[in-house]
Symmetry: C3
Subunit: 136 residues, 3 copies
């Protein structure tokens, strides 16, 4: 029996319901939908990194990465990222931030596949990202 492990970085705010920020079982690692919340501060409600797409996107990447690392994985292991934006007009800017970020990460494997769609998100949030990784 392969154990299923919850991945809960110390910096993360508590999920708003009974789900895990990330889980790992065997060589499969799944990251829950992350948004641009800053590291948790005890007694404070979750707070986005800022109102701009850039601030929220970079914080969202940091939040996804923390979960990957908690599970012993890296961006190189990511197979699929789902990017949820609220506004089609943010696509070009998100891609620019995305490209610069992943260039800086120094990937050694081919980049992940990706799907980007435009949905509704809670007020104040401009981006949400989840990820599926295969380790090993």
């Amino acid at each position: 029996m392969t154990e299923k492990i919850a991945l809960t970085p110390a910096t993360h705010t508590a999920p708003p319901a009974k789900f895990s920020h990330g889980v790992k079982k065997g060589n499969i690692l799944q990251v829950a939908g992350q948004v641009g919340f800053l590291p948790a501060v005890a007694g404070q409600a979750p707070t986005p990194a800022g109102p701009t797409l850039r601030e929220q996107t970079l914080q969202t990447f940091a939040n996804v990465k923390a979960i990957l690392e908690e599970g012993g994985a890296s961006w190189d292991d990511v197979m699929m990222m789902r990017v949820y934006l609220t506004d089609v007009d943010h696509f070009a800017e998100m891609n620019q931030i995305y490209n610069q970020y992943f260039e800086e990460q120094g990937l050694t494997a081919p980049p992940s596949a990706r799907t980007t769609v435009y949905v509704g998100l809670p007020a104040g949030l401009l981006i949400e990202i989840d990820a599926l990784a295969v380790l090993g």
Copy 2:
């Protein structure tokens, strides 16, 4: 060669197109997007459990669970649930229903990861959920 098996609970209404309610191959089990349709009645069109979020969410959970069980899996094997709501104002209520449901299920492994986004759904449907499970 690992066989790919369709998971088709007897209670489920026929899919509206050539897709499977669930498939299993090796240790991977994928549940298709489920909605709050009541168990199928011969000669009747698929009917939601009721107009409320609570009725539809609980029926949707039952429909996902039936597919997991058809494949020899349980909620404990679920790595990722995608929750599609039509209205951001339903988030708090859905989480309440979600938490109560999974408390009652008596999970023995960490809860699944989750992403919730707000999309359009066919008229009358308030929630859709799909799930990825890893067995073994």
Copy 3:
């Protein structure tokens, strides 16, 4: 260490950002969100197959299939397809196209699971599809 391989059919237009059209690692193959872009023409911007749902859906299927084949997979290996439409009124027509297409493909395994939701897409695009396959 299992190698992660990018799947890049020669006919595909370059992704608009640093992501792969498809990736394969071990027995897992992930196809990025595909739209109805015609085969790439050097020096030309990506162009949809046509304005209609039928043209775009069939071209999208062709684009997904090319990535599957690049990775040594076929429709029979697909576990999950996510279909993103922009308009609930397109559901019936998409299902008709979907059923006819997969009948013609002569699947030998049960059809994939599927989730269909209604989201925003870039102007002129009516459908986007991604896919998860398990090989072997």
